[in-house]
């Protein structure tokens, strides 16, 4: 494939600067602020949301974007499975971190939504590095500004709870309840994969099923196999705009110890790759990778896993950009 992207939006080559060197931007891409004069040329924007005010148990994901940037400098350019090189297809850039307010949940959610509205205005497809899972809610508020979207959601938890600790509505256990209530997600076009872990009650699942969400437990996932479930995912979301939200705790904690609410009995890293590769062809309009918590994995293996998944997501997004160009 001949390059369709600009030379100015390439990762710094390991031949010019060793991979452990340099200021660590996502994937060694150029760092542009949203005000930068050339930002409109960007096709895929990598954005950090260093925020964990939604975390009810063990905080830490606010440090996620930095550790993910650090490990992302070891990612090379091409996917060995599908031979997609997102940097060849699309102008990619690191758009920096959203300026969150660690002391105010509502203010921060507004700041995030505003940031993403600016990104969408420039026609940039956003790939988010969280932050905890509450981050997905303000992102969806921007992405669904023109109507509800579908979602493929890989996670150990449904995040469909109503509230927490005396009525708090905005935590990392509630974003998709809110998103459905706010009309950001079309629940019949939502599939949740990998659900497991001990339960308080089944209030979340009851809500989801009533609204039409497809919930695939890890038991079902293992029994049917990744490919079969991803085929169903394609059917569920159809051809309309769809978001992908990937919580790192989807994967077993042996692979991803650096997260706040691990649940044993999860998929392997290879199964995670298979799942993301199974998104090929979906009309994906954005994606996030959330809940990497560096204090619980200072060695960084979880961050390395996280950026490897982010790269897989970028390949799917680039592939769709490429397909649309061909079509146009």
């Amino acid at each position: 494939m001949s390059r369709q992207s600009s030379q100015d939006f390439q990762p710094v080559s390991g031949l010019d600067l060793p991979r452990f060197a340099g200021v660590p931007t996502f994937m060694r891409l150029p760092h542009l602020t949203i005000e930068h004069e050339r930002v409109a040329e960007v096709d895929i924007g990598l954005i950090g949301v260093p925020w964990d005010a939604g975390t009810t148990n063990r905080p830490g994901p606010r440090h996620g974007p930095r550790q993910l940037r650090d490990y992302s400098t070891m990612i090379r350019s091409t996917n060995p499975f599908n031979r997609i090189s997102p940097f060849e297809i699309a102008n990619c850039a690191d758009l920096g971190d959203v300026a969150v307010n660690p002391a105010d949940v509502q203010d921060t959610m507004n700041r995030i939504t505003e940031f993403y509205l600016g990104v969408l205005e420039k026609n940039i497809v956003p790939v988010t590095a969280g932050g905890d899972h509450l981050v997905s809610l303000p992102v969806l508020r921007a992405l669904a500004k023109d109507g509800p979207v579908g979602m493929i959601h890989m996670d150990a938890h449904t995040d469909l709870f109503h509230s927490y600790f005396g009525g708090s509505l905005y935590t990392h256990g509630t974003p998709f309840r809110r998103a459905i209530e706010e009309g950001l997600l079309d629940p019949r076009r939502v599939i949740q994969i990998g659900i497991r872990g001990t339960m308080y009650d089944d209030e979340d699942i009851t809500f989801g099923q009533r609204e039409g969400v497809t919930i695939v437990t890890v038991d079902e996932l293992f029994a049917r196999g990744i490919d079969d479930v991803m085929a169903e995912a394609q059917t569920v979301v159809g051809s309309s705009p769809t978001y992908c939200s990937f919580d790192i705790d989807f994967i077993d904690p042996a692979y991803a110890p650096g997260t706040g609410t691990p649940e044993i009995g999860g998929p392997t890293s290879y199964q995670a790759q298979q799942a993301v590769r199974g998104l090929e062809g979906i009309n994906l309009i954005g994606a996030d990778l959330v809940e990497v918590s560096p204090p619980f994995d200072p060695g960084g293996g979880t961050a390395w896993l996280g950026v490897s998944i982010m790269f897989e997501l970028m390949c799917i997004l680039a592939s769709r950009i490429d397909a649309r160009r061909v079509r146009d």
Copy 2:
């Protein structure tokens, strides 16, 4: 299912006190000493045995109960697979730790047996958190006071050796040899699953096979699948009283690094869950989870895995209590 347990024997709710808060008892249950006036109301008792005098290589399991208690506060109330909530069915409590004597093996074994006789007298089903595997011997001395019991034993090692280092008969490599010799276990009703690791010789296996123990190596386990082996386990132990002993080193060290004698090539955490869930219907009279060694996993992933398995065991035990009630 309507609650059959008392409100006084419930875990502290995360709505009343965040899960990281409070004095860490097992599963956030009330802590009752065996002398407590209401101890006779307890159905399932969680007991720590912080002892590793049987450890011949790398000590540490004496610190196991404390780390297990710590991580157990993240366990919620209901099993997502079988929807069992042990706290709904049975009055559960933390009965504290046995007062071991770190300087005297025989004295400690007597103290443990005596403690468990007291527990059984109150009609409490014991779930033990070790400690090293020698802990199972004095526990069995109490449980088998009325005759030999069967056992489902998940482990990388048979623990059927005769002796160690110049004739020491009581180590974490010998408990089940002793238990068979002492008539605590009926060897024809014993199945050992997951056996692997380099061998000194096959003295243990020869003994076991001669006595009629069913030994399933990890190779056989992987070839046949968990379900098939657990079906055999049901046949081996039959309907008579049976103990379950779960050594955390049954699971691969990528999942359970915090143990003293890890062996590569083991099952995943999901396979471990499947194995325990396969105990459903067995006449289980007690269970233990041993060999979690915090100094070798300060991050606590092994302890989290350990308490997740303990919870699975509690579900099986509660289910049997429930079944017996129905029958009665």
Copy 3:
């Protein structure tokens, strides 16, 4: 000294149960809730406040009380320096953790103040294990209910800032600004010792000096010596009721790495002991030890240091209780 405390309020002896065994309460003391029928017998109450909503940079102190409880089980009964045994003099107990609300700052501050008002009503002297430094504010609201108190404050930071990030008034950098503004502290009876670290500006120091706070930088502390500064501290606070707030980051991060805002160039652990021992004779009505952040020191050395300081504080408090008894 003959025992003046009840046998029922003693630490569990290491001769009855090894120090690594048992449910870890503070100092192995009995755990009483504030509703317990015998709570009025308690002289010194150890209280955890597992909360870090005031932390603007690296969260974690919400996990402090649990790790402090764990390491506190290695504390023995008598201080080798002054031969004080607080458990001989005073009935000591673990009063549990305040039920904080991780999702609401104001609600939690109210819960804390209310809890401490209950403690004071029972005539119990509170020793607090944080939590971040914002914890001291709601505690002072209870302690100063009858008028402003003095304070000896050991810390790398003044915590006298006005606000943070767009006006947030309640963070771990502002508690003593608020406490002075609210009339909880008499600034002329406040001394801050160990101040260092790079500065944004000197707004905090200017405020403090204007109000009459005595600020001793670490440079001055090292130049004058601990004893000289503690003598000044005695003069500053005089004989009226005084609080002691000890931030673990007072001590150099080589000794206390497990904290969120470490500053190099601090005192040693021995100098910290000297400083606390220098409180002898002060009319101390309570104390706290804050900012121990387990995720940044999983090995636990910081927690061990923290509980060792808590024990020194308990000795001072017990000594004052003893003196008052003699006087009465």
Copy 4:
């Protein structure tokens, strides 16, 4: 099987000295220098090459041999799968480390080749503990002194690149390109298994395929299964002399975090064992285990995995020695 090895070349027994005791030689074997008078009696020689000058990203494998020796003292004598005891069959010894020159790549390569020529002269089958993967090149220069050999290569990477960073020809990404160019390997008798990870380009794969190397990606490996691929490996290398090179990053980083260039989506430890056991019957003339990097896994799980694989390799080599004896 009756012992065919000398009593003087046995591991120190755990009955004579506990496994954590003693100077840690490989597998607790006697340490003989190549000049030792009895070295000619050795059948299998374990050799460390503590060198990582070929590492372009994260150094550390120079510390590999020491950590591998440390953990190797936990290996017992017999393989539970195939019941092979290499120490029964063959005289095994620790031949120490090659005296590498950390400041000169060419000098070190010459020293390594010279060392191995000395080993081969004594008719000793070498098992190498790296060091980074560049180590394999000078080893092959010795082993292939009489003509090209075949190779079974387990790795996430092909290591077939031409050069690095402005023309450097000797790095851990290039050894097998050089080995093919130098006629040390017969590319049609080379199979590479487990290949994955993001790519710069496909220059390595193009070269390999053009030369006739069989490349099995991890996707193909998982789709076909270990046994099927190992059967192909047997066909590819045939009955002529063959080398086995095992890069620890073949295995997923959840199992082997202690390595410099981890790639997610790899095999389990059990699959790695299956792969090595699948070498049974091949005319193996030597083997290496490389890229264990202790600074990235101070806990040592990767080293334990590494020596477990080394033991599996020794079993295959001993089995071949045994077969050859029978034949002779």
Copy 5:
């Protein structure tokens, strides 16, 4: 002091973006490449040299600049001791990392010297973050282009050795031997402070003393006190141009464990601050902070110490820039 620096060369404020957020440049300063159009406005340039090819024992400092950048984002603007705010006085910027060649020592030294010549041409005072100590040699080749300079060298080692392992002249144990031989340093204007650690021989010290270098062992330093030795340092270097090289292993390994050649019995972090503050008034033309090795301190305490020292060095350099302006 009114600001003399441009608003465009300030650290990102913690009020605009929390300190854990954003792409981590040194001290949150703007990142300018040496080709940037505005680079000539820079007064103090922070430069990373991620290189450890000179490390003969335990590698790792190549990862130093990245970890130092990460922790530098916690540095605030003003020095509490001397109230200097370097960002007020001077335009400061992150000039990125030198593009080292990990596979070629001479090539890399040339690249470094060339980079620094470019920096000096722009009249920028360089502050270097290593990398191992060999880094100082090519930097001095640039700085001393117009004649030998003086040096204040804080270190546990003299780094005055002739060669290593069979004649290698360029390692982290030899840079200042070379620098004296090459006429880059005037040995009579060099003082080395903190020397300790076991010795191979005294070849280095003999050379140094013969050439007129002033060597202050740690024993002498402790006996005389920091202030006295720094006064001597002022005398030794006089008023001519002087470089400061600070090896993190100057400080005791309890404070700085993350380094490759630690030596016990070293100064505290406070003594290190005192030493750097004692440089006030010296005609300093540049400085480096070397030998921070992240793999040996993943927790990052050593990096935090390192950037705190870098900040102290920046204050001295800014103060001199300020003084020169006044004079001009």
Copy 6:
């Protein structure tokens, strides 16, 4: 000083083999068993006693000798303070580990005493690497076979307790009580330095003082200074044979976290060096370094500190051997 030692008893030179390479013996010395034909040539023997059966709280020192050997390979040949090179003066060797029996305390004590009697018979001065402090008792049984000896004991604890947990007489808290009772130590020639830490009671101190032991608390040590106390130590022990026992917990846990019973408020590493250097001139007949516990410091800083102290002790012992030769 011209070499008085044999070329055959020198450390492997770093010029022949890099310091990270090779089988790790103590100080890279030749490893001789006590049966070796040339063992009688050895002057100073380094011996490991990998045993912690006396540890009542947190086990681990059984792993001490191995980690100490590992880090000892970074020790060079000459002491920078006193310029003593023990390897020049004396034939030094690694005599391996005593074959302890982890399952039998009395058997192991007998094995240790027997081993040391063999060492003394060869006229070798033993330097022991523990193991926990109980190790000193069986060593003293050998060393004091001809009558009681004096002792300089650096420790946070007196280890003079009578018994533990129901009467156990042989733990790491009782060795010197037993040694005095058995007439191995002359209590009037014993000085204990650095004593601190919370106390159960003062039974140990009362016993010691009654017997005439000189006890120097850390408070007294800091008040008087190291030199003054070491001068008293010289007076206390006089010119008769004297043992030195150094517990690593003498030093503050910031420097030595890897130990089972740390006590805050201890000396620095430099003060520890000063203390050992203050032994110069004492008639030292042996020494030990005990209580290094690797599981509590996997990073190895404590082991590095431990071997650095062992080297200081070797210098004192070599100096005395040298002095005796001159005298003879």
